[in-house]
Symmetry: C2
Subunit: 297 residues, 2 copies
Amino acid sequence: MAGREAGSADGRGAGRPGRAGRGAGAEVVPAPGRASAAEVAPVPGSAIRSNEAPTFALPPAVEMLWGVRERSSRGPRRGLSLERIVAAAIDVAQAEGIGGLSMGRVAAELGAATMSLYRYVSAKDELLMLMVDTAMGPPPGPRLSDDGWRAGLSRWAQGARASYQRHPWSLRVPITTPPLGPNMVAWMDDGLRCLAGTPLSEQEKLSSVLLLSGFVRNEATLSLDLRTAASDGHIMPGYGAMLGRLINPATFPSLQRAIDSGSLDDDDDMDSEFDFGLARLLDGIAVLAERPDVPPG
Amino acid sequence: MAGREAGSADGRGAGRPGRAGRGAGAEVVPAPGRASAAEVAPVPGSAIRSNEAPTFALPPAVEMLWGVRERSSRGPRRGLSLERIVAAAIDVAQAEGIGGLSMGRVAAELGAATMSLYRYVSAKDELLMLMVDTAMGPPPGPRLSDDGWRAGLSRWAQGARASYQRHPWSLRVPITTPPLGPNMVAWMDDGLRCLAGTPLSEQEKLSSVLLLSGFVRNEATLSLDLRTAASDGHIMPGYGAMLGRLINPATFPSLQRAIDSGSLDDDDDMDSEFDFGLARLLDGIAVLAERPDVPPG
DNA sequence: GTTCTACTGCGTAGATGGTACGCAGATCTA
DNA sequence: TAGATCTGCGTACCATCTACGCAGTAGAAC
């Protein structure tokens, strides 16, 4: 097993309770398109946890991102900022992969002490979420000339893919919450916008965008894995040949055919793989979008 | 950030070299449908690494799985076996999630010492791969009455989904290599088999199965995430409502429409989500499968 | 049977890394 | 100016992976 750089937080924390909602707060440029702080109903702190009405507590740092939650100006001037921390963390991840990302490493990058970071971020996982949202960047948005849902979604997918390619490490961060960051939410909105003119129901639009987003992420991950494996000089080059030696042609006839056709050894065809999948998906959505029936919505 | 249980090995090993191909070997019931040991060309050890002809070195334990590599019967009788270790590890993962899976924990389960495991598995990652392959189990295989590629692939996808649902932790193991285990390979073959009667080229068949498999995995992961988040009493219940309070309707109009339609709050509709995505994909593949043109293959 | 030796389990120890806790000092409010 | 509040961060503590090497075991070779 060479190519490491896997998931992030191994489930520590099973140990002691921990008071959870500690350090957090930072001056953050409020996300564009947010509801201003005043318009937002106060979010109950995570300390309050009645077991009836489910209270949805955002991670404090995420509230910062959205511009909710001002902080008092008491105390010494802050030496760091959420943005600087996230930026430094992204630098580290970019250079050394998720595996090389440790709180200590990020702190060193900033010339600060490890524990300083915990004034801005309550746990490493939170930092990871912020990093991913930042790395994703804003969605492509509408074109001047609207050229239909298919072209729009295609551009959307290509854009998302490009984002992943620019920040491969973000694919190594497991998704554990629905999209919460401003950028993620903006991407969601943008995808839905592409389908706005179609007869799809809201539910169908949502499902379609979710489907597409999963596809893009998956494809990007696969592509990254291939590249990683290849650059390790490991298994991937000649994967087909290796399988061919392992398997028994009689028992895996279909796979054998694929191997014989050489389809498995065409390296670096992840572009066409992506195009193929995207086309299939859009074709599938088209069946709904171009149906003659009357839509429910 | 409550619900941990994230990735597995954080990228240690960046430290010292390590001699990599150490302890491994076990009596393993050879996988069905394998090429017998005799038929298989010897696989060069990972020590040999000429930089020309790319040598594809399998992890030793995987070679065990395939029935290649006999071990000498010298030395004391072994107290453990790969299978027992993998089974114990799966038990632990099943009960406590990937986050609860440590080599020490597995060893304790077996009444052995931590380091004993390293006689059977060269690293934790290797164990994870074996666990995933085992958990996946064999593919559904052909039905007596062949009812077409669409029904076949549908069954295939449903089966894969069921496997993931039986072993949710397997979704938390990041994929870092192409499918190597006997079960994984069998699933691949089975998917291709479903498409055998269609006019798709080998490349297209392969791409389709890959696409589908990515979809299933993604959908299962999403579903698991939702369930995890919900059972933590966390964000998911009322995600739509929360987003509604965060965003500005004017800036995210499409998303706002989706929220207003209530589509975001329909919990536990991952089944229909899966069905929707699967239908879209199969529709997309159908465009190829039922085209009148002459196939290239 | 005796010796050789590959192989076994596993104790020890090093390294890495997340993060609770609490102190000393800074800055704002009253 | 006193107190409240917040800041950076040093000091542990703990979990975890895994390299190393010892002592003992069981076939093989003679």
